[in-house]
Symmetry: C2
Subunit: 230 residues, 2 copies
């Protein structure tokens, strides 16, 4: 293990980077974390990920992989201990389906609800709640999305719901995760954040994130002013 | 095998449906094809895929799976013969990465270049060619994207490039696949379409597709008139 090169290039507040960090920690794989400034990209990032120029980038013995979902599958296939995906092909398909669903239907909507205003914000809030309802149904009494006693691929893929989502809601003055509407996700959120491995990854402080997303939201809103608002 | 229920719900002109059909044929898995009218959706579709209400839907012994990439992985894990994905985790990651790249960077751009006009069309054409350049580099002298002598996951995932893309280009009066610019993809296109299994899936006639996409393009353009054009 000592000679293996395992590096994660990230950015402190990126939920996509934390996915990879969580996966590696759940597997007990040691790695070197390299912080990247995504607003002032280094040549290192541009060389490692010339296609998307984004974090996370995962480096394993000179093999370079981008895109967090692709990295998660690679990690799961390379280090077999503590499997992230279920063993059964249909259960694997469901985990992948809902991970992608949250990415496409929930993440954008929740993000937009944070910084937008007026009709656009209303529409984004509605889409956020509709997507969350579908995710709530998936828990269906289970402890984790991955099953009863184990954090798995889907928990990691949508782990940002536990910490980023309420912060985006606060920035956008929109109570996204009302525990009465979403009792399952609310209870899962606490369990997820209390999980020893997730706790060990030390998420950024709440006040620092509030400040960051408040500023980002304002910047995005300003940059869209005068455009169509879509 | 006789008692196994294997069904594919599709729509005659959908490239996403053909992905699944190609995968099943490459595996030698027999299935029942059910044509759906996506402009007049049946209760069957709404019940099978209540989340996205889209084709393809794959049914295997009462297990229902939507989303073509998720279905491809399921098929590959369930029927082990003629593997679609490579065996090596890094090669698997690359296949998944480029499949997703083409979906996010090429497909939308090429589609938009077909029906849009003016500045929007120019931008879409530019994005289409830029994405194609990256895909051209991936072939890098290989016979197929999956390797030297075997159609694999990535070939199937981007198989629409071989037949749909030139048709979209023709509808949009834009020569997308200039063989001089893209010699690798142009040669791959012919090999892919000539592959006995792909030939066996009998693609819809070219003139019928031209007519269909001409009409669709016009409808989409008209529906966006008066909106922001984005």
């Amino acid at each position: 293990m000592a000679t293996e090169e395992i590096k994660l290039v990230g950015f402190w507040v990126s939920p996509f980077v934390f996915r990879v960090e969580w996966a590696l920690k759940l597997k007990g794989v040691e790695f070197e974390y390299i912080e990247e400034d995504i607003f002032n990209k280094t040549n290192r990032l541009l060389e490692l990920n010339p296609v998307h120029k984004k974090v996370p980038v995962f480096v394993h013995d000179q093999k370079v992989i981008a895109e967090s979902f692709v990295i998660l599958e690679y990690i799961d296939e390379t280090w077999k201990q503590n499997p992230l995906l279920p063993q059964d092909p249909y259960q694997r398909a469901m985990a992948r389906f809902w991970a992608r669903f949250a990415e496409e239907k929930l993440l954008d909507a929740a993000w937009t609800s944070m910084w937008s205003k007026g009709e656009q914000k209303e529409r984004a809030e509605k889409e956020t709640l509709e997507a969350l309802e579908k995710i709530e149904e998936q828990l269906n009494g289970k402890t984790y999305f991955g099953g009863d006693d184990k954090i798995g691929y889907l928990d990691i893929a949508i782990g940002w719901i536990s910490y980023w989502l309420p912060i985006w809601g606060e920035v956008g003055s929109f109570e996204i995760l009302d525990p009465k509407k979403f009792p399952g996700i609310s209870a899962w959120k606490t369990r997820f954040l209390d999980h020893p491995v997730i706790r060990d990854c030390s998420l950024p402080p709440r006040d620092k994130m509030l400040e960051y997303f408040h500023k980002r939201g304002q910047e995005i809103y300003n940059s869209r002013l005068g455009s169509s608002g879509k």
